[in-house]
């Protein structure tokens, strides 16, 4: 298993995702002899996981069952331990497309945070690209490096514990893309500029507050960046369900006989009521949804 390459069978040392049910998952590090408790019972790693195929059904000690899934950056994003607020797949997907990321891309990123975006970038730039990621918090930098190693992607990434606004990314003239998710991105723009290859590349800055966006756009314009563009993107989920709607009873029509003529095939008589109803298969909105994560500002650093 690795986060950048699929494999068929589970091996010791793998990180796998246990799927328990609707929106309920957990990551497990597979170790011979170990056990993991779930609400359906215990999972014994040696007999239930090692050697099994990814996607298999695993029966737990209490009799209930779960699925074991191959890790992907998307599954990792919703299961990783948060050390900071993280970026979610909706923003990550747009960042990936808008930065023109692909195999071989060299990317500079700051801050590393909990590594949510980092894993997605690594997946996209593998096998020939490289990620230079900068994190000013020492423990977070250490934890990120450790995770990259466990997830078998360490060869694609260099973690640096420094302040990008003061010291930059640690490399110059190599990047195809630069990503900033820091409190004061405008302070890092000159360093970002130096990180790019001579032919230029794409930049993205993620900021929750509009004031940060304004200052960043100003700095980008000053520094000669082009195609400056700020967007926000949100995902709306549609919950698929059947809904039953009652039909009104207007009383008997002229002639006295109740009209039982219903054209729709979906009409069924409600069990405990004499009133007919219609069942529709539809999708409803959840009660609440994520309304804001941050503003994404994209720009192009031109050649020269």
């Amino acid at each position: 298993m690795s986060f950048v390459e699929y494999s068929e069978f589970i091996q010791e040392g793998d990180v796998v995702i246990i799927f328990l049910g609707h929106d309920s998952m957990m990551p497990i590090k597979v170790e011979a002899g170990a056990q993991t408790q779930t609400r359906y019972g215990a999972i014994r790693h040696s007999s239930d996981l090692i050697g099994r195929r990814f996607g298999s059904k695993v029966t737990c000690s209490k009799g209930g069952w779960v699925y074991v899934l191959h890790p992907t950056p998307e599954l990792w994003t919703v299961n990783l331990p948060h050390r900071t607020q993280i970026l979610y797949t909706t923003d990550i997907a747009n960042i990936t497309l808008m930065l023109d990321l692909k195999p071989g891309s060299i990317v500079c990123e700051s801050g590393t945070g909990s590594g949510s975006l980092s894993h997605a970038i690594l997946r996209t730039i593998a096998p020939s690209g490289h990620l230079h990621t900068v994190e000013f918090h020492a423990q977070r930098a250490e934890k990120a490096a450790q995770e990259f190693k466990e997830h078998k992607v360490a060869h694609l990434v260099t973690v640096r514990n420094q302040d990008v606004c003061k010291e930059g990314f640690g490399v110059v003239g190599v990047a195809d893309a630069v990503f900033l998710d820091i409190p004061s991105p405008w302070e890092a723009v000159t360093h970002a500029k130096k990180a790019f290859k001579r032919k230029g590349g794409r930049l993205c800055s993620f900021s929750p507050c509009i004031e940060q966006v304004q200052r960043t756009c100003e700095a980008l314009l000053e520094q000669g960046f082009e195609e400056i563009c700020t967007v926000e993107v949100l995902q709306r989920v549609h919950d698929v369900r059947s809904v039953t709607l009652h039909l009104p009873d207007f009383g008997p029509e002229d002639g006295g006989a109740e009209s039982a003529k219903m054209a729709s095939e979906e009409v069924l008589l409600a069990a405990n009521s004499s009133h007919p109803s219609v069942t529709c298969r539809t999708a409803t909105a959840p009660r609440e949804m994520a309304g804001h994560t941050g503003y994404l500002t994209f720009a192009t650093k031109p050649r020269g």
Binding site: F19, V68, T72, L97, H238, P302
Partner: protein, 464 residues
């Protein structure tokens, strides 16, 4: 080469894709131009279009002389819009153009001849100049195609060709589908090859892509626009939809007779380069010279004709053999039923397509289906729940908003996309013999009554 041009006016980028043909006039945004002078220049170069339509390279860091504005007003309380504030007539402007005045100079003339310009606020002046620049300046930037640029272009200019797939929705598909180098991806799309090309861009020439196609042949015009290096094409395979059942039942017969009837029905958008890679070589190969010289002209003609016929037959046989090989190769990739991903984006009803093609996908792999409309995906979701074999089913759509960010003028852009289509995504699991039922209702949806506070919290926390 294949390139794209953009007409950039500050934040607005409009693109078109064109094949560069020498000495051929091309029209873009009501501007005629010859692309000849762009050949040999670096991607990202900006050109000015002169009055004859020729491109003139603009040096980078070429800052224009600032427009002379001579002060501004505070608000518009005294500005009356009577349509008479501009003293230059349309004919005056035309003659200025004919005199060869540059866009910048024409704009300066317009400003000087406007009675209300200096009363406008600074913001209004900036807006006025920006508007005139768009109309009178002719700058064209030639960009290297990428998935981002092509997706934005198709959505902006030809949405019908891509089933109204908006670029942020495409972004979701590529990421949720975990498209990456080295995997084996099955693609079914009727988006002019844009989705196929985007998948190939993410694969970087590693792994394999099998394009399923309806009708006579796969449409790849959009994919060709990416300008991939030739070795990328080695990873691309195609397989006809009409042979899927045969493949699944093990009765697929890759014979010449089958291929013959297939090649007679070609889709209209199919370019000559999309079918078989050896086709490219065919056009340029010259006919072998006949060494025999006959004295009788009628005899010679007859000999020439039969020679041609024989050559054509040989060429056809070579093509058919090539085609047979390709079909067998694609079949070999599919019949293992171990693809790493499935991407569907078409005008076909997604339900049967999805249920049919999922059979080719290995367990614990993501799949993503795009549809312009919601109801067909609701049907897909329902059928998948019934049949099992998939978890983490999500029906989503993406909401996208652009912002104008300027000092004291920051606000969302006035016009917004109404919608970008819908996505159904999920992860395959080992299929169950019988559908799950009973207390462990893992695949069931939460009933309306059961929504609790912590579920609301979890839906608002994670947008993945």
């Amino acid at each position: 080469g294949i390139e794209t041009g953009t007409r950039s006016t500050q934040m607005i980028c409009i693109t078109v894709k064109c094949n560069i043909l020498y000495r051929t006039k091309m029209i873009f945004e009501k501007q005629w131009m010859f692309m000849d002078n762009s050949v040999g220049e670096l991607y990202g170069s900006t050109f000015e279009v002169d009055s004859g339509g020729k491109l003139i390279l603009r040096k980078p860091n070429n800052t224009e002389d600032p427009t002379d504005t001579k002060g501004a007003g505070l608000d518009n309380r005294h500005i009356v819009d009577d349509g008479k504030s501009q003293k230059l007539t349309r004919d005056d402007i035309e003659s200025l153009k004919e005199q060869g005045l540059k866009g910048q100079e024409i704009i300066q003339q317009l400003i000087d001849n406007s009675t209300t310009f200096r009363d406008k606020t600074e913001f209004a002046q900036e807006k006025y100049i920006k508007k005139k620049k768009k109309k009178y300046e002719s700058n064209v930037t030639v960009l290297k195609p990428t998935s981002r640029i092509l997706a934005m272009m198709y959505h902006g200019r030809e949405p019908g060709k891509v089933c109204h797939l908006r670029y942020d929705t495409l972004a979701q598909m590529l990421t949720i589908g975990n498209i990456h180098a080295g995997s084996k991806v099955v693609v079914f799309e009727t988006c002019a090859g844009l989705v196929l090309g985007s998948v190939m861009e993410r694969m970087g020439g590693h792994g394999s892509v099998i394009q399923l196609y309806p009708g006579g042949g796969p449409v790849r015009a959009g994919m060709e626009s990416f300008g991939f290096p030739s070795h990328f094409h080695n990873t691309l395979h195609e397989f006809p939809l009409c042979k899927v059942n045969a493949l699944l039942s093990g009765t697929l017969n890759v014979s010449e007779k089958d291929l013959d009837s297939q090649s007679n029905g070609r889709s209209d958008e199919q370019g000559s380069s999309s079918q078989v890679s050896t086709d490219r070589g065919d056009e340029s190969s010259s006919e072998p010279q006949s060494m025999e010289v006959s004295t009788d002209p009628a005899e010679a003609k007859k000999k020439e004709d039969s020679e041609k016929l024989r050559e054509q037959k040989v060429k056809k046989r070579v093509r058919m053999e090539e085609k047979r090989k390709r079909l067998a190769a694609a079949a070999a990739l599919l019949e293992g039923q171990n693809a790493d991903g499935l991407v569907i984006a078409s005008r076909f009803h997604p339900c049967p397509v999805l249920l049919g093609l999922l059979k080719f996908v290995a367990p614990s792999r993501p799949f993503v289906v795009y549809c312009q409309y919601r109801e067909p995906l609701i049907e897909c979701y329902t059928k998948l729940r019934e049949q099992g074999g998939a978890v983490s089913l999500r029906l989503t759509d993406s909401w996208l908003r652009h912002y104008q960010v300027l000092p004291n003028r920051t606000h969302p852009v006035l016009l917004m996309s109404g919608g970008g289509g819908y996505l159904l995504s999920g992860i395959t699991v080992t299929a169950d013999a019988a559908a799950t039922s009973g207390s462990q209702q893992k695949s069931g949806e939460p009933a309306a009554k059961r929504i609790k506070l912590d579920e609301i919290k979890s839906t608002s926390d994670s947008s993945a």
